[in-house]
């Protein structure tokens, strides 16, 4: 109850701030008094303040709090353009009503500069993305923040941050991007605090405490992450080849000696294509995950090697209405060895092939000021689903409102979306940008 009233106050404070935000700094004779005549300043800063709340659609037996999200967030972003280099910093301060904590999160702190004519370098904390999927990632093994996404924070927060060096080389026809992350950075995964999850060791849905904590690999040069992307365009077609050496991004390995979850070493290679087709766009992507410490696949406490495959198509069906559909496959490569050695309840043994279909419908209205979207994940093999209707309304350049529902379900508590059934929630956010 205390938390609820705190959130109410936060929202009220936010609204109070937001209302005078519509100040009109231009009079009827447009542009004349406006700063665009002035020289652009080398240093700029901007940001937003956002209130967000998410409430479970049902009570969760293993988590006491019915709020999965309740926070006031202030983001400040600064940018300085020097003669050669550009410096950027993005810092979030969060008053979190779910954890009752004040928190700070450095989203970006980096410098970018060219090196010669053909190379761009970016050093520091940054967000990194590549690949062709819509909310499905194969060759993009940069950290994801699944918890943020599944509780209803802004989509930007689905991508976690990397402390990395990105070196992009651009040739005539071929480009090469190299990302070195000295210290492995895993995904942020549901850890029981806001979202309950299925613990295969206990064979049940669990919540915090204790929070799920994967033990990161030792900080050695050997354990640095290396990600490569060779890419180019042939006419309207885009192609890319990917390579990765590092770790599975989720704590999917278990160390029986310490009784801890860990991140298993992996290599990955893959490729993707994207281009126009039949009045829309197609994308194809595949990846092979080599579980380095489990090449025979007979250790059920380590992830199996996998082939992943994705095929997608997107098209504007009628004006301002877009349909996107994807088929996605996760195929365990040493399945018979896994089944032979499975020590736990056979009912929790994963399928050899996990099939997933996604459909996204997007309507854009009022000159894109109102966007309604329905994203739907359904796995026929796991018999589970994740349905995510969202609405985005841009009232002014300053004030934006978002709301949505995360609806999970399935016939089995051990499957990917089925385990989150009792985390289903409704969320809303109000953001004032400055």
């Amino acid at each position: 109850m205390l938390k609820f009233s705190k959130q109410t106050m936060l929202m009220a404070a936010l609204l109070a701030m937001a209302v005078p935000g519509q100040a009109d700094d231009w009079d009827d004779d447009p542009w004349d008094d406006d700063p665009w005549d002035d020289d652009v300043s080398a240093f700029e800063w901007y940001g937003f303040i956002e209130g967000a709340a998410g409430h479970r659609l049902q009570s969760n037996p293993v988590i006491g709090d019915d709020f999965s999200l309740g926070e006031l967030r202030l983001q400040l972003e600064g940018r300085y353009e020097g003669d050669v280099a550009t410096w950027r910093m993005k810092l979030d301060g969060i008053a979190d009503g779910v954890t009752d904590e004040l928190d700070a999160e450095l989203r970006e702190a980096m410098v970018s500069f060219p090196f010669g004519d053909r190379t761009d370098v970016r050093l520091g904390r940054q967000v990194l993305t590549w690949g062709t999927g819509d909310l499905v990632f194969l060759n993009d093994l940069f950290p994801k923040d699944w918890e943020s996404f599944l509780i209803g924070r802004d989509d930007d927060y689905l991508k976690g941050t990397s402390d990395a060096a990105r070196i992009s080389w651009y040739g005539e026809h071929i480009n090469l991007e190299t990302v070195i992350t000295p210290l492995f950075e895993p995904d942020r995964y549901p850890d029981g605090q806001r979202l309950s999850y299925f613990d295969p060791m206990q064979g049940d849905i669990v919540g915090a405490p204790p929070r799920l904590r994967g033990v990161k690999p030792p900080r050695t040069a050997e354990n640095a992450e290396l990600a490569l992307r060779l890419h180019g365009r042939a006419g309207a077609q885009e192609w890319a080849l990917y390579g990765y050496r590092g770790f599975f991004p989720q704590p999917s390995a278990f160390d029986p000696e310490s009784g801890q979850f860990t991140f298993a070493p992996m290599n990955a290679i893959g490729g993707s294509l994207r281009g126009p087709l039949a009045g829309g766009l197609y994308n194809l992507e595949t990846s092979y995950y080599d579980s380095r410490d489990n090449r025979d696949g007979d250790n059920p406490l380590l992830p199996n090697s996998e082939i992943r495959f994705l095929a997608g198509f997107e098209r504007e069906m009628v004006t301002n209405f877009t349909l996107g559909a994807q088929y996605y496959l996760e195929w365990l490569q040493d399945y018979s060895a896994l089944r032979r050695n499975w020590p736990m309840d056979p009912a929790t043994l994963p399928d050899e092939r996990r099939h997933l279909a996604t459909v996204r419908l997007t309507w854009r209205m009022m000159r894109d000021n109102l966007i309604v979207s329905l994203m739907n994940f359904y796995s026929p093999s796991d018999d589970d689903y994740f349905i995510r209707p969202t609405v985005q309304y841009r009232h002014t350049d300053q004030l934006q409102f978002n709301a949505g529902i995360n609806l999970f379900g399935g016939s089995d508590a051990s499957t990917f979306y089925g385990q989150f059934e009792e985390n289903s929630s409704v969320f809303a956010r109000l953001r004032y940008s400055f």
Partner: protein, 264 residues
């Protein structure tokens, strides 16, 4: 005598044809020259643009961006649009490969996710970044999509009436364009529905000559149904800068080319 007659006849013919073309050029020549003047001036160009979007209820939004353009072969063009305002779209970059006669290729870079998203080649008559302008107003409508007819020649303008060849593909039944006879710039366009009612109007409010090219520097698009409008102003325009083709690439999406974006 015969020769003289021929000479006179020839002269009259030549002169007459010359006169005729000066007075009333072929309608396709007018629309092609208008298209050239408004979308293809120079080999390339750079401009800063600002939009002030006012909806039917008087609420206002702003977009500010820098636009780079480069002409290719056979009417192909590349566009790079780098947004600087408002703060939540700042750093967003839009890349277009315009392919007359086919679908344009379009990409969008979202800096918060470091994501290069490809945009499905959809209807080009939808809002450009929330304004009353359509994508097609920014990069130009293909001339071969309409039948054109010269319906009036005034002291200042050629008035062209254009009717879509595929009426199901667009929201208008016809539009009239007032092309300036001196600069060839389309100064006004009015879009009509089946019943002849005008529901959308574009007007060029100011023209300046920049680097030898007459350039519309202020324009206004009105939505006469809803009552809203968008004012667009271009400044710091330059032409023939020698922008290389590789500026219009993924590199510029992820890392906008400062050298070509900055004012001189």
């Amino acid at each position: 005598m015969k020769r003289l007659t021929q000479l006179i006849a020839g002269t009259v013919l030549l002169f007459g044809v010359g006169m005729l073309s000066a007075e009333t050029p072929d309608v396709m020549e007018i629309v092609e020259r208008a298209n050239q003047a408004s979308y293809y001036a120079g080999e390339d160009g750079r401009s800063e643009a600002r939009m002030r979007i006012i909806d039917g209820r008087g609420r206002e939004q702003v977009r500010q961006f820098t636009l780079l353009r480069r002409n290719g072969e056979d009417g192909r063009q590349d566009y790079l649009v780098v947004f600087s305002r408002p703060s939540d779209v700042r750093g967003t970059v839009f890349l277009v490969d315009k392919n007359p006669g086919g679908d344009d290729d379009r990409w969008l870079y979202l800096p918060g996710l470091d994501l290069v998203r490809r945009i499905a080649p959809g209807d080009k008559r939808t809002s450009f970044v929330g304004s009353h302008m359509y994508y097609e107003d920014v990069s130009g409508r293909h001339l071969e999509d309409d039948e054109h007819e010269l319906i009036e020649t005034t002291d200042e303008h050629y008035v062209i009436r254009s009717t879509p060849k595929d009426p199901g593909s667009v929201e208008f039944a016809a539009f009239n364009t007032w092309v300036d006879r001196e600069t060839w710039l389309p100064m006004k366009a009015e879009y009509e529905r089946d019943d002849g009612e005008i529901y959308r109007r574009m007007e060029v409010l100011e023209v300046e000559e920049i680097d030898g090219y007459p350039t519309g520097t202020r324009m206004r698009m009105d939505d006469l149904d809803e009552g809203g409008h968008t004012l667009v102003e271009f400044r710091f325009s330059r032409y023939d800068l020698g922008i290389p083709a590789d500026v219009f690439s993924e590199r510029s999406l992820r890392n906008p080319p400062r050298r070509w974006l900055q004012r001189d």
